[in-house]
């Protein structure tokens, strides 16, 4: 009997976790069930991060292990894959700022938490956020920025969303190294998340997902 994948992955035991996935796939198990276990493991990883047991390297490493697992599972997966039940979120680093590490971790955590994430990349002009909101109908937008210069770009992005008549349709969260409550007020965003898991918590709250 194979060992518990959720526990092994949550404990970041890469070799064991990959071996379990191989074994289960060879035994002809439904790949969706394997992904379900993996997603429960990621929930545990997120919880451990929130409680201060895990840190960013643990999140990053869990992502690497998950990548290896996905590569094994993907070829066996029927088209369509797992359903996304968390809702849609648009994420991007604001205009003029090309920092991506924090943004990528947020995208990753939202993704493994079941959200359908539209990652617009870095140095994203305000109008691109507006267009994506119109096109996707996503009710949540995350603005990332590392530089103090991002304060203005965030403010302008929120303003552009307002000018497009979409401010009531979306909740906006911001995040980054020099972001505080004061800056949240300054930019006109709804809230800021101090880390990736806080971002997921906000997205869950706003989308009504569990």
């Amino acid at each position: 009997m194979a060992k518990d994948l959720s526990k092994t992955l949550a404990d970041l035991k890469e070799d064991e976790a990959v071996a379990i996935v191989r074994e289960r796939l060879n035994a002809g198990e439904d790949p969706l069930r394997i992904l379900d276990d993996a997603s429960r493991a990621m929930e545990t990883v997120g919880k451990r991060f929130s409680s201060g047991e895990y840190f960013i390297p643990d999140l990053v490493y869990s992502g690497e292990i998950l990548k290896s697992i996905n590569e094994l599972v993907k070829p066996k997966l029927a088209k369509g894959g797992a359903a996304r039940k968390g809702g849609k979120v648009i994420v991007g680093t604001v205009a003029g700022d090309i920092h991506d590490i924090g943004k990528d971790i947020v995208v990753f955590m939202l993704d493994v938490s079941g959200f359908e994430v539209y990652d617009l990349g870095v140095d994203v002009p305000a109008k691109k956020f507006v267009e994506k909101i119109k096109e996707s109908g996503a009710p949540i937008v995350g603005l990332s920025g590392f530089l103090t210069l991002a304060y203005d770009a965030m403010k302008q992005t929120v303003q552009a969303i307002k000018d497009a008549g979409l401010r009531d349709k979306v909740k906006i969260m911001i995040g980054g190294g020099q972001i505080t409550d004061e800056i949240t007020k300054f930019t006109g965003a709804d809230a800021y998340g101090k880390d990736a898991v806080a971002g997921v918590t906000l997205a869950r709250k706003w989308s009504g997902a569990k």
């Binding site: 690497e64 090309i98 590490i101 203005d152 020099q178 800056i183 300054f186």
Partner: protein, 450 residues
Amino acid sequence: MAKKWEEMTPDEKQEALFARWMAPKDPAGNDLKYQSPKAEKAFKERITRIKDAIQMKKLPDRVPIFVAPSFFPVYYAGITPQEAMYDYDKCRMAFKKFVVDFEPDGNLGAYVPGPGKFFEILDYKLYSWPGHGVPPEQSYQCNESEYMTAGEYDALIDDPSNFFSNTYLPRVFGKLGGFQMLPALTGILEIYGVAINFIPFGLPPVQATYKALFEAGAEALKWMGAMGAWNADITAAGFPLIAAGFTKAPFDVIGDTLRGTRGIMVDMYRQPDKLLEAMERLTPLMIKMGVGTAKLVGHPVIFIPLHKGADGFLSDEQFKKFYWPTLKKVMMGLIAEGVVPMPAAEGHWDSRLAIMSDLPKGKTLWMIDQSNIANAKKTIGKVGCLFGNVPSDLLVVGTPEQVKDYVKNLIDTCAKGGGYIVSNGAFFDQAKPENVHAMVDAAREYGAYK
């Protein structure tokens, strides 16, 4: 007769470097002529004030003041980062206006923008800069990537210099591709076959690389000429630079420029022993880098930007295992040579400051950003001088009154017993000028030691 450097104790070496800082030279190597006796007096008073704060032996006359910006002086002078990077005269003008207007006891020089044309000549890929990947009105930003692959630790450990020249540099400078073909210089041993080692220098790609290097070298020299003149000018006006140069924590050398954040974090799990060995290998090189610059410039303070050891980036256990041991060795190596390490702890370092407090007293200078300053004073502040903690967001969206209150509170919390310098906490691009003035004015108003 003066003692030889090798015979001096670390304390004597530190005093000797402070003495050289106090007796600046002009670019030609002669004693610098001050603008006025008043400027000379101000220069010496400022250094004495900073020295007393660092050494923690006696109280300065008042709490010293640093203003440590990134691109703020550029915006403040009404030019763009692109102009500052390509027009060295405009850059000098902007940074001079900044120093003269705010009159800090310590400033960082005019080095921040750097020479745009030089980066262009070599096709520097590690950064995007104004007009090259970011808009003209933005500062340059780093393009992190795995410039060293996970399988290259042995090559780095075997011969770091050769790894840099033949592998790393060609990856981050488009024009240094020819370096991949360079011979190992340690193979040049005797007449038999010696010429074979030089064949690469006859090949077109290597020659093209050297051509670019000559051009880049000439541009770097031109830029340095402008910077040297700026230093002489601003020193003659009575304003000392805070630091002579920089070095880095071995963990950040690998995490920032070689493997990248994701790379080094995964290496901590997949190949921890290689990572530890590589950091040990880099440690003496980082010591040499800092000590060499300090002795060349004649200035004791060497800046160490701290990056990937911040709270959240590692657990305390990971910090103690991977980050601190080699950084501590670097710092102790600098201290042994009389150098004052100036680590900049941008972001939050609350849980780390206590760990890093096992250092000798009066030898270090710490930039503190968002860490709890009262706690910092009780841990790292017991052994080292602190500066900073005036927050970036306050300088941007606050009012002068709020800034003044914040600084007054800082002085009440930190200045008692010395070892504190009023300053912003993170290298900033934007701020309301009146808020920066309020920070400096409040330090003067409330900072006197009676």
